[in-house]
Amino acid sequence: MDTLLEVRDLQTHFFMAEGVAKAVDHTTFSIRRGQVLGVVGESGCGKSVTARSIMRMVRPPGHTVDGEILYSRPDQNGQSASIDLLQLSATGTEMRAIRGGEIAMIFQEPRASLSPVHRIGDQITENILLHQAVSRLEAEEIAVDMLRQVHIPMAEQRLDAFAHQLSGGMCQRVMIAMALSCHPSLLIADEPTTALDVTTEAQILELMQGLQADLDMAIMFITHDLGVVADMADEVAVMYLGKVVEQGAAADIFRDPKHPYTIALLESLPRLDQKRDWLQTIRGVVPDPYSTLNGCPFHTRCADFIEGVCDEIVPEPITLEDNREVRCLLYTEHARQERPPVAEDSSHS
């Protein structure tokens, strides 16, 4: 297993007047080289803050207080060496070389992420000049080539365009061209298609899949859309309240979800392939970020809540048979001691 990025026990907290919001709280996951990891969860679950922590772009009052982000890259001898991004200075030369170069990011609102007062050609070449030893002319050639790769018609002319002259889908293509211009080994895509229409979304996803295969890069695909993840990702991490509650191969998770939160999320979706009169809902709401909950963070809303267990013991990630990591006490000793498995009871009757 060729791990490109390993996040261990990452903790990013926001220190606010109301208290400390643990946006990312002991998050652990890994991304393999050339693979697509889908990160899903509802708003406020910490998926975007995790991405920003990796890029070292968390602004005060947010701080990454603990954890490791191990990024492996070839050193001078061609050997693979891993460095902890959290040990680097966020504004230092090394981190600046990685950010935008080896690890690139695209955002949800493509038009807001582009400068409204600079021509898109200048914005792309700026990034290339920053990360590669090329002349201005060469950088422009690379920019045109990238715009062609993301299927922007009349690429040369478009260098002189401003963001407001392009549609949302086109702006997202420009963002992708900019992100990929330095051949990153990891692309972090934070809700890249959420603001786009379905047919435009289909175009962008198709483009990303093609480029991912061509350039052999890994993608961390952050979204709230379980359908998009099912289609795009090799591996899926489900987040709830700052923690990864389940991670495993996409095929396995969608076929047989293990964590009660994953199960509930999938059940609450209106589906084209099934007829349901009423949708399953998850009771309650996501707890206030400043509150501290004992035990499992999901226990207040969980359908399988066991009193005296789930509200007291903090679940640790455990690995199940198909290499699936689940943070749930139902799969541990604790649950068995407290109550006999329901399945056994019903088999006798």
């Binding site: 509802e42 379905v198 289909a202 175009q203 709230h224 359908g227 998009v228 979706l269 998850i282």
Partner: protein, 336 residues
């Protein structure tokens, strides 16, 4: 109950010092459909296709350029209004039968007013009740939409997105409307909250015998809530059918492409072939000749470039605007 015929809305595009009208954006360009009492009609399409404008025209938040909107709030034998031509004074009594639920629960509620003011305002404005009577009605509405009566004196900032949407629903329903236009009511919400609101809307429909015009872009949501579905593209309806029929076997190539772009949250084998449309949605101020969809249509032929297809009856309850609907065999999504 509602019959829309040849509805058009053209927004003038102006230029220059004297705001000379240079052309028109044909936001809605000849839309016909009818709504039966107690049913839900889903209206889907991409942004800019005119679906919100249709909703607002029925509410008469915009003046229609042409067409008629026949509205019979009390069924066949009751009064018959043409919403397109009524003047403001005669609209007033009709408006209480028509209500709207908006997309963004964060901006559609006044932050300076309490729930009593927000939800009770329609009653107060129509002079229907006041004082403790008004308060009782608001409490009743809060209970109905699943909010606690104690919340009555709180302000909107204290509520989550899902709760705010419930407040918006309570405000819309307090006048006992017959027709509710819901414009993307769940698209700003997370999936688990979305499910709660969709269930609530379904429950209220059965309880209060409501008719919904449900405007949305999410085909999964629309299928779940709708009895019939209308698909819109650049100001025109391209297909109208029973929801199950439309999803199982679409007749218009645009519907097929939309359905293929829906991702099924299931194992990889459940994903169908994705049809990626070339180019972008046509410009409503300068639409292409013939069928508006022909530059992006993979089945387009010579005729599509010249003749604009009209929405025509294909079978009993199915309508389609495509010259070749009989010949094409298009793929649907989902079988049950």
């Amino acid at each position: 109950m509602l019959e829309v015929n040849g509805l058009k809305k053209h927004f003038p595009l102006t230029a220059g010092l004297f705001s000379k009208v240079v052309s028109h954006i044909k936001a809605v360009d000849g839309v016909d459909f009818a709504l039966k009492k107690g049913e839900t009609l889903g209206l889907v399409g991409e942004s800019g296709c005119g679906k919100t404008t249709v909703g607002r025209l029925i509410m008469r938040l915009y003046e229609p350029t042409a067409g008629s909107i026949q509205f019979r709030p009390h069924g066949e034998e009751g009064e018959d209004y043409d919403l397109a031509t009524l003047d403001n004074a005669s609209l007033r009594p009709v408006r209480s039968h028509l209500q709207m639920i908006f997309q963004d629960p964060y901006t559609s509620l006044n932050p300076r007013k309490t729930l009593l003011d927000i939800i009770g305002e329609p009653l107060r404005l129509n002079g229907m009740s006041r004082g403790s009577e008004l308060e009782d009605r608001v409490v009743e509405m809060l209970r109905l939409v699943g909010l606690r009566p104690e919340y009555i004196s709180r302000y909107p900032h204290a509520f989550s997105g899902g709760q705010r949407q419930r407040i918006g629903i309570a405000r819309a329903l307090i006048l006992n409307p017959t027709l509710v236009i819901a414009d993307e009511p769940v698209s700003a919400l997370d999936v688990s909250v979305q499910a709660q609101i969709l269930n609530l809307l379904k429950f209220l429909q059965r309880e209060l015998d409501l008719t919904y015009l449900f405007i949305a872009h999410d085909l999964g949501v629309v299928k779940h809530i709708s009895d019939r579905v209308a698909v819109m593209y650049v100001g025109k309806l391209v297909e109208l059918a029973e929801a199950d029929d439309l999803y199982r076997k679409p007749l218009h190539p645009y519907t097929e492409a939309l359905l293929s772009a829906v991702h099924v949250a299931g194992p990889a084998h459940s994903q169908g072939e994705r049809i990626v449309l070339e180019g972008e949605v046509a410009d409503p101020s300068d639409p292409p000749s013939g069928c508006y969809f022909h530059p992006r249509c993979r089945y387009a032929q010579e005729r599509c470039n010249q003749e604009t297809p009209e929405l025509r009856r294909f079978a009993d309850s199915r309508f389609v605007a495509c010259h070749y609907a009989e010949e094409l065999d298009l793929a649907g999504a989902g079988t049950t």
